[in-house]
Structure formats: structure tokens, C-alpha cells
Symmetry: C2
Subunit: 359 residues, 2 copies
């Protein structure tokens, strides 16, 4: 397919550098401030499909802007808002909007959607996912390749899960368990707030949760920081200045934990349980992805950005007939689209193993 | 002995409250700002002996003021300066100055001084000491009954020990080991900078160290905070304000760890090894003290303030003939003074068990 790709950023230098890094030849760039709504809508009119890789606070407004501009949109931002509320507007604008289209939410949703469609009745969904350094790095066995503030959110925001058929809130870092992965060894898993659209689109399940994977000991350590108040947004007076402890913690994390060039791994395990033809079935998917040495691309970038770009390309090719806000699980429920995405991920080396068992 | 006791504080209300709390009848109080040097020296002239319970930064200047005013002085402040440098001035002023006269430094020094005097040659001195809540209290298994900033110092200041007969510096929190105390269970011990005057007064030893006792797991937790930068004094920019992380941490510790009324215990173990009459000997002292329910006095207050007040009373009675700066180990080296202090501590319920073994 012959496409023109443009990279835009508020910072012209960053846009240029990113264009240079991803472009084999003809990736162009321009400066754009996504917080300038009218300029944004005007600029978007020149494009066929928009990919969003913005921080959480810009996700929803960029999505609205795309709908206003009548453009298809694939997003990986971890926006606090529920994108499904824009469904009717998106249908009216005759566009396809795919929110949460990265690794998890993203690939995880596609897999859940697929199993859900295969089963006659889905009872339980368990998602475990983590982006980790190849080996545990002190002091937390973890490095940050993205925003320290988003990481702190992960440890403080209540996680929404489905329990007894209903949405329930649990504290972050709860539900701690140990899990063995043959390729990696022992990891630990705890609840995080990653289900998002799945809470509303995958209906009738008794139990559904997402847990984040880390090297053992991590939850206890960040739990200590939380219990001591280092993640709190309640202001404290320090030498006459009113300071939110979490802001200082984010700064210290930036200094001690942000290591953008560390070799990383991505681990995803999805279990979907239910009935098919009267039999109890389990659909299990496993993905372990590694740092791409040759191209200098992290496993996290591979599993996140490839997913979004594959879906954007399918939209461009007219292979996604869904209109409105269609989260990745909706794509996974369409067998033809599911197979196309899996094939494209596979061709990029992102291999997902499927195991279907009757229990 | 008929004495008049006065309590002074910068804060008149605090002085009044303390006087009321400790005074059965006739403890008086007045307001005094110890940072006002000339007023301080002038006021001190009315007294026979001065007891110092000030924060570290005022300890040395109060000591100087006492020497200038020609007054005997017993101090428990954890001053950063070496008080021995004032020895000649104190001798000239014909006063007795006892620095570091609390629990440790304090009782520990007295015991080391005693064993040192008993032995023909001292080879090793090991001190382990801790003030702890009666049971481990989350999240650190520890509560603060004094200054959070001093606690952070304990975890960041290099500790001076004697190794191979020479003063050496080791990192705080190093030298971690587990120790079993029959009355309490397992504790852990790590180097802290508590030898102070002992580094200079107990001569000829091959090895000497102090370790702090905590409930197991504590060192790992505070080590994590240190490694993440939360104890650093290097300023970080937070929303336009320059902040030392340790200042914010001290504030959070104040909120989460300061529990002045928790029932506490004090544990002290001193081992002194050496030769006597050609035999290898070990002098071991053990002190475990508990919260005084009846009078509402913590074990830490009992072991610190009783020691200082016993020594002050001995000075008043003319039983301490030493002039100049005489740290507690110098008192312990005098058999008569040692026995008097032990008897007085014992009569207040602070019991120290002695074990002398030939090895």
C-alpha cells in the first residue's frame, strides 16, 4: 500500500527526530500543538486516518477533534474518560474510532473479543500483562520507559474489576499472586485498572480482571512508598512551599528509574473461560516479546505501536467496516479482522500462542 | 538531696508543661532562647549544673556557653561536633562537662569504659542498641519518638568504626546481621555512627563498632528509600520550587511514623573482648527496658534522661572529681563512679545484666 506518513509534535525537533527514526524514506513532519483545538481540527482535514500517541490528558479531546474533522482515529492514549460516550457522534460522522489500541489495553482486548465470540457463553476473563527490563534492575526491579506520573497512577488508582457479575472496585496492588513463566521465571501479579472498555463491551461474565506483572518483591516496595505517603496528592508544607508528595516522587523516579534504552521484555497472558457446545472451555493466549536489537525498538514499542499501525492500515484498506467507537475487542469479535491482525503481528515477529482446552 | 529544678524552653508553654509533668511539687520553669548566646550565658550563672536536651545543632554552643559561664554540664544532644576539643577550656574553667550522656552514646560508653578499665588489654568492642515499638508497627516496623531529620541522618551519614586498629568509614545500613534476643525475638543490626568520643578515648583496640537494632526487614526498606533518592539533600525542582527530597521525607515521616505515645522497648548489648591476667575474656552487658505504664514514661526517656540526671546529681554531690570534658566512658573507668551510676539506674528499674566469661 502506498501511504504518506506525517509525524506531528508540539516540539518541532522531536517531530523531526521521530520522523527520521521511523522513516525509511518519505516520512514527513510538522509542528502541531494538540491543545489548540481549532488549529488541530483544521490540520486533521488533510489526512485519512489519525494515530494518537499523546499523554492521557489529551486523548479524549484529540478523539473529539477527529470526529469533528470526520477522520478515522486509532489511539493508544490511556485517557481517563470513557471513549464509548462518543460512539453516537462517531457513527453520525461516519468514522471508525479505535481507542486503547496498544498492548493492554489493545492486543489483550482483541484476544478477549475473539474468545468471547468463539464461546457460547463467557464466564471468566483473566488478563496478566507487564513490560519489564530483561533482568530485574535495582532498586524496584523495574525501569520506566514512559511517564513516572502514569506509573504512580497505576499504584494508586482503584482498579475496576468484574466480580459476581458486577463492576467492583479494588485497591491497586491488591490480589497479589505469584505466576511462573517458563521463558522468564517467577513473576508477581496484582490488580491494576486496565479493563476499561471491556467492562462495558464483554457482557454477561461472572469474573473479569487485569493484573500487572512485575518481578517478585515489587508490589511490597511500591506499597511501602504508598503507605509512607510518597504517592499522595495531599499537599505538604516544605520550607514554606506547598508540595504534592507525588510530584516530588515523580521527579525522583525520573532520575532513578527512567532508562529509555534498557533492553525490555513484554509478557501477556489472557485466559478466557466459558461454555461451547455444552463443554467447559479455556482459551489461553501467551505473548512474550523481546527487544529488537537490530532496529533498536523496545518490546513495549513493538507491541504497542505495531498494533495501532496495523489497525490503522486495515482501516485505510477498507477492511474495517465497523463505524463509531469500536474498541479492539469489537475488532477481535470479527473473525476476519482478528485473523488479519494476528497475521500482521506475526509477520512483525510478535508471536501469540493460542491454547484451547476443554476442562 | 535538696535541689531546685528549673525547666527552660524557647516555647514558654512547653517549658511550663514539662515542668508540670516531671515536677512532683517544686519544678519551676522559664522561657529561654538558647540561640541568644549572651542572654544564655547570663542566665546560666544562677545554676550549679546544667542538663542539655537540645537538638544537635545547639549542643556544641550550649556546651561552650556553660564553660564560659563556669558551670558543670551534662548533655544528651547528638551534636555533630567533637566535644573533646573543648577539654582544655573546660579544665581552665574548672568545670565538669559530660557529653553524650544518654542511652547510646551514654550507658553504652559507661559499660565500655568499665570493661576497658577491668581488662589489661582491650581488643574488640561491639555495641548494639535500639529503641523500638513493643511490636513491629507497619510500614517500617518502627515509630519515631524524636526528630525525623535525625533518623534520616542515621540512614545516610557514614558510620565511623575502628577496623584493624584504625578509624574507618562504612556506609550506613551496611554490616547487616540478624541477632536473637530471648525477650524479644529476632532483630537485625546494621552500622550507625554512634561511637563518637569512644573513637578517641578507648585506645589500642583492633575493632570497634556500633550497630543499630531494628525489627527484621527495616534496613531493606529504608535502603530502598535511600536508593530512590528520598533521603538526598540535592535539590529537585518541583513545580517551580527547589526542594530537598529529605525535607519532604522528614515531613512524611512526621505524619506517618511519629507516634510519641506508643509503648516502646529499649535494647542494648555491649560486648568487650580482651586479655586479663593472660586470659582471653569477654565482658557482655545486656539491658532490655520497657515502657513505664504507671508514670507514662517511655523506655527511651527512662534510659536517656535517668542517666543524665543521675550523673548531674553525682556532680552536684561532689562525687565526680574529673574536670574538663569527661565523656561517659571516662566515668565508667572509675570503679567508684561506675558502681554509683549502676546502683542508681538499678533503683529506677533500669537493670543491666553483666556476664564475664573467659573464652
Amino acid at each position: 500500500m502506498d501511504v504518506e506518513v506525517f509525524v506531528a509534535d508540539k516540539d518541532a525537533d522531536k517531530a523531526k527526530e521521530t520522523a527520521r527514526k521511523i522513516g525509511k524514506s518519505n516520512v514527513k513532519w510538522f509542528q502541531l500543538d494538540a491543545s489548540n483545538r481549532s488549529e488541530l481540527i483544521n490540520v486533521l482535514k488533510d489526512f485519512d486516518v489519525v494515530l494518537g500517541f499523546l499523554p492521557p490528558k489529551f486523548g479524549f479531546s484529540l478523539m473529539e477533534a477527529c470526529i469533528k474533522a470526520g477522520k478515522n482515529f486509532v489511539d493508544v492514549s490511556y485517557m481517563p474518560e470513557n471513549p464509548l460516550v462518543l460512539h453516537d457522534k462517531a457513527v453520525k460522522a461516519d468514522v471508525t474510532i479505535v481507542p486503547s489500541c496498544g498492548l493492554a489495553p489493545g492486543i489483550s482486548n482483541i484476544l478477549v473479543g475473539h474468545a468471547f465470540a468463539e464461546l457460547d457463553k463467557t464466564s471468566k476473563v483473566h488478563i496478566m500483562v507487564g513490560g519489564l527490563p530483561e533482568t530485574p534492575i535495582p532498586p524496584l526491579g523495574y525501569v520506566i520507559t514512559w511517564s513516572p506520573e502514569s506509573l504512580i497512577d497505576e499504584y494508586t488508582c482503584k482498579a475496576r474489576i468484574i466480580k459476581g457479575g458486577k463492576i467492583a472496585e479494588v485497591e491497586a496492588l491488591e490480589g497479589l499472586e505469584e505466576v511462573e513463566f517458563p521463558e522468564i521465571g517467577k513473576l508477581e501479579a496484582f490488580y491494576t485498572d486496565g479493563l476499561r472498555t471491556l467492562l462495558y463491551t464483554v457482557k454477561g461474565v461472572e469474573e473479569m480482571w487485569e493484573k500487572t506483572l512485575r518481578y517478585p518483591g515489587h508490589a511490597e516496595k511500591v506499597g511501602l512508598l504508598r503507605d509512607l505517603g510518597f504517592f499522595s496528592d495531599e499537599e505538604v508544607s516544605v520550607e514554606g512551599h506547598r508540595i504534592q508528595p507525588r510530584k516530588l516522587t515523580a521527579k525522583l523516579f525520573e532520575k532513578t528509574l527512567v532508562k529509555p534504552n534498557v533492553r525490555d521484555i513484554v509478557v501477556l497472558k489472557v485466559d478466557v473461560f466459558g461454555l461451547k457446545g455444552g463443554k467447559e472451555m479455556r482459551y489461553t493466549y501467551k505473548l512474550v516479546d523481546f527487544y529488537d536489537e537490530k532496529n533498536g525498538v523496545t518490546a513495549m514499542a513493538r507491541t504497542t505501536a505495531y498494533t495501532a499501525s496495523i489497525v490503522a492500515a486495515l482501516i485505510l484498506k477498507g477492511e474495517v467496516h465497523l463505524k463509531g467507537v469500536a474498541p479492539p475487542e469489537r475488532l477481535g469479535m470479527e473473525d476476519r479482522i482478528y485473523k488479519r491482525i494476528m497475521a500482521e503481528l506475526n509477520s512483525r515477529g510478535v508471536k501469540i500462542a493460542e491454547e484451547i482446552c476443554s476442562e
